[in-house]
Amino acid sequence: MSEYIIKNGNVFDPVQGIKGDKADVAIKDGKIVAKAGSGAKVIDAKGKTVMAGAVEIHAHIAGPKVNLGRIYRPEDKLFSCTPTKGMERMGGGASIPTTFKTGYEYAKMGYTTAMEAAMPPLFSRHVHEEIRDTPIIDEGAFPVFGNNWFVMEYLKNHEVENTAAYCAWLLRATKGFAIKVVNPGGTEAWGWGLNCLSVNDPVPYFDITPAEIIKGLIEANEYLGLPHSMHIHPNNLGNPGCYETTLDTLKLASGFKAKNKFGREQVMHLTHSQFHSYGGTNWGDFESKAKEITDYVNKNKNITIDTGNVTLDETTTMTADGPFEHHLTGLNHLKWANCDVELETAAGVVPYIYSPSISVCAIQWAIGLEIALMMKDPMRCYITTDHPNAGPFTRYPRVIKWLMSTKAREAQINAFKHKDKVLSQTSIGSLDKEISLYELAQMTRAGPAKSLGLSAMCGGLKPGMDADVAVYDFDPDKPVANPDDIEKAFSRCAAVFKSGVQVVNNGEIISNGHKRTLWVNVKSKENPQVMRDINEKFIKYYSMTQANYEALGHHFIPNPFALEVDAT
């Protein structure tokens, strides 16, 4: 493998505490090294910003609901198609790009790792087929557990060990990465057209509450010692007043301590917190509760969050929160897709337009930014758009611009039709914080990597780590003339390396790299009861045999990378 030395760049690396020093980064055999040999190829990074490859903690980029979005939205391909070119296969789609385009677009922005945030276990093959066809970036997928019949039945009887054994089995069977929870209990209730809007609403038939599911899954997660924590999309998403449900959910983490060998400190990751920070009683008095949520998270170190920034685009919403998507189609009367998945989960897909002329959308925009600006520890708050739910991931450079420049925020606020309402219902106008490049590296690299349990591998530039490096055409020593220059610089990297291979040069793809699928291989104690239960449920209630469910052929995952966990 070739050697490289990235010379004289302004390096930002929270892992080593480097805050913009002019330094060289050396690469050898796919890893960062202290010193490169004399034959190393020199990349001149003078006047440029150098960071580790960025890590996406939560996006919907592969699998059945994403593809349903592609299938039923031909309009998303209008003006967004790019022809086959050199290394690149053709691409298409704005909010739900094709797999190839997904890989290229992330790489061009300096992202080298991304997590698919909701994998229906029954569809894991589909998720992995799409991951295989997404070039360059390393990917993992989170199977969903919050409405799973096994989990609900075990937790009803307070059987945490059995829950953990089942989780371990499912992670192995689906080659999954983490325990994801979406609208716990509510999505099962949706099987009957119902929902659970608070953490205490009983789940029909199963005689359990969302609170019990959440606590039980935190316990199981720590019992196993998984790299990532329980990753939750709480109940009551997106409704005025939902912040109270969010606080109730966050409080369930209190008293738990992280147990793992991966350096992770949190026991709960709250995703797309923007959607969960709403006050008011209706869309008329809708207001921000970003302060209430961030105050709580700031005080409780065992929680991490991501933002879910609204980017003011036409997009495609998709989530395993089936009842929410039905509710949404009732609001906007656009087309509705839904798929309920036997014994496991559901998903809905609805197109959505975040119009700057609608006050609710503008307030949502402000809330996402407020969260990022109000969080005191950037290592515990990560930038996401919950792609494509609050906006496409391709808008990250724009979100970065808004976070790094009060001038850019002001310009956007002034452009809103209901500017006064935005200012009265949020505190975005009074926040003068500007995120620094070091904080940006925390929020997009070191932080998410640590939360995912990947801090030994990625998110930093310490010798020994994977050589995932992004070089931006952005000179931190020069004052920013126009905030749009920030967006431009973060849109197309000068150079990107993935595991030591240069994949981007001057914003163009020059290699498809050796992308890997990250998954968590948990060795757990033998548990004959759980194995019997699994066997029985397959015979009686699944529509697929257990043997076919488990046999995930190697060709689905051509380049696997397993994080080994020994929970025996």
Binding site: K77, R89, W192, S543
Partner: protein, 438 residues
């Protein structure tokens, strides 16, 4: 000693049964028995054993005879054909695995082909309707565990998907449907008295081609509004009774087939059927699902979608995907004479396309990749027989509810035969050389 292989997947219809047991000879070469499959499925397995099977590529000679050639020569012919063509059509894909489809799509991209699958003549209209209005659906296990109202509209599973009713929809006892058939009401909408219709609690014997009207009348009945005395040949009392039966269920599903996708009004029928489903969700829980025919037509749509962004009828002639069914769809392209090379795989347009679309195939460079001899192989210049996917080679497939299931190999193919994927890889690699592609 024989060997029994369990959990075998049936590569015939969209039901994609995965509980078959197959007995093979000790050397793994001969398939002896097939258990659990329906008649059609069993036949598919046993057919792979037929003595008169073609095992080598054959080139049509000017005098009408066939000349046997090697796979390398066949790949050369195919690659040359695609490289020279201005606008080749690559059609089929519904009876092969996703791995082969994926290689095929790469070939299509390099040769700037039009690509299409058999949805062109079955559920293409469904896909258009889904693009209009969406699709509330579920997996078949949800039907088994929850559904107490089953509607079959314009389909006849008793014959076309023989194990559908026993595995998923009518007979099985699921978690919330412990009484099986007894806990379900069944409505069939069909102008014919089919074997499925004979089993129904309510058979709405609709006038042919009046699906849209009846679907609309059911929606009117759901809201208890005024109806004429009869709609689509069904008296209003019976419509109200059916609507009441649908509405009173806890979980219902509409399965629909080509009787409604290919009758008058086409996609508009499906628009209305989906609208009815959405409407029913105001009262209780409802889903709708197309009864997909080929065992992997669904998979082809999925792979097309994640690689190109559209599920069928894709035109790559400008280097990126364009989609405009009626313009970029196979039959239209053929009838308009826009195509100058025809590549068929895993389907039989010769048997299913109108004759005006089949004739042009006989008059242009053409390849048919198919383990069987079919009307299409008969009119093609080159016939490339391949091993049977799901019998002699494995690979991923998608059931009618989009659930992916990995097919299993149970016996060895006849000596020296290639699979679809292997042959396509040869073509792709050669095509890349010819085109100087990266």
């Amino acid at each position: 000693m024989t060997k029994t292989i369990t959990d075998v997947i049936c590569p015939f219809c969209g039901t994609l049964c995965d509980d078959l047991e197959v007995v093979v000879s000790d050397d793994g070469k001969k398939l002896l028995e097939v258990y659990n499959a329906c008649v059609i499925g069993t036949e598919k397995f046993l057919h792979s054993q037929s003595k008169d099977r073609v095992t080598r590529p054959r080139l049509h000679q000017p005098d009408g005879t066939w000349k046997e050639i090697s796979y390398d020569e066949a790949a050369e012919y195919t690659a040359q054909m695609l490289a020279k063509a201005k606008k080749p059509l690559m059609y089929g894909w519904s009876s092969t695995n996703c791995e082969a489809q994926s290689v095929g799509n790469e070939i299509a991209e390099i040769s700037r082909a039009c690509c299409d699958n058999t949805a062109a003549v079955c559920h293409g209209t469904t896909l258009i309707a889904v693009q209009d209005i969406g699709l509330p659906t579920c997996t078949l296990g949800e039907v088994k565990n929850r559904a107490d109202r089953i509607i079959f509209w314009g389909c006849n599973p008793a014959h076309a998907h023989p194990r559908h009713m026993s595995r998923y929809s009518i007979f099985p006892r699921g978690f919330f449907t412990g009484k099986g058939q007894m806990s379900r009401k069944m409505i069939v909408v069909d102008p014919r008295v089919t074997d499925t219709a004979k089993m129904a609690d309510v058979h709405l014997q609709i006038e042919q081609g009046r699906d849209y009207e009846l679907l609309n009348a059911l929606r009117v009945a759901l809201n208890n509004e005024w109806l004429p005395d009869s709609v689509a040949g069904i008296p209003k009392e019976k419509i109200r009774e059916a609507a009441e039966m649908m509405k009173s269920g806890r979980f219902g599903i509409i399965f629909f087939g080509m009787g409604v996708t290919q009758s008058l009004s086409k996609n508009h029928n499906i628009d209305e059927a989906i609208a009815l489903t959405v409407h029913l969700n105001e009262f209780t829980k409802y889903s709708i699902m197309p009864m997909r025919g080929h065992y992997n037509v669904t998979g082809s749509g999925e792979v097309f979608a994640w690689q190109f962004g559209f599920p069928y009828s894709i035109d790559l002639s400008r280097g990126f995907a364009r989609y405009n069914p009626g313009d970029t769809s196979s039959i239209d392209l053929l009838v308009r004479g826009e195509i100058d090379a025809m590549f068929t795989i895993g389907s039989d347009p010769g048997a299913h396309f109108p004759i005006s679309a089949v004739k042009p195939i006989a008059n242009m460079p053409s390849v048919c990749i198919d383990p069987h001899q079919t009307p299409t192989s008969g009119v093609s210049k080159l016939h490339v027989p391949v091993s049977f996917n799901g019998v002699e080679t494995g690979g991923n497939c998608y059931r009618m509810d989009n659930v992916p299931i990995d097919c299993r190999k149970v016996v060895e193919p006849p000596e020296g035969m290639l699979s679809d994927e292997q042959f396509l890889i040869k073509v792709r690699d050669r095509l890349k050389q010819l085109k100087g592609a990266a």
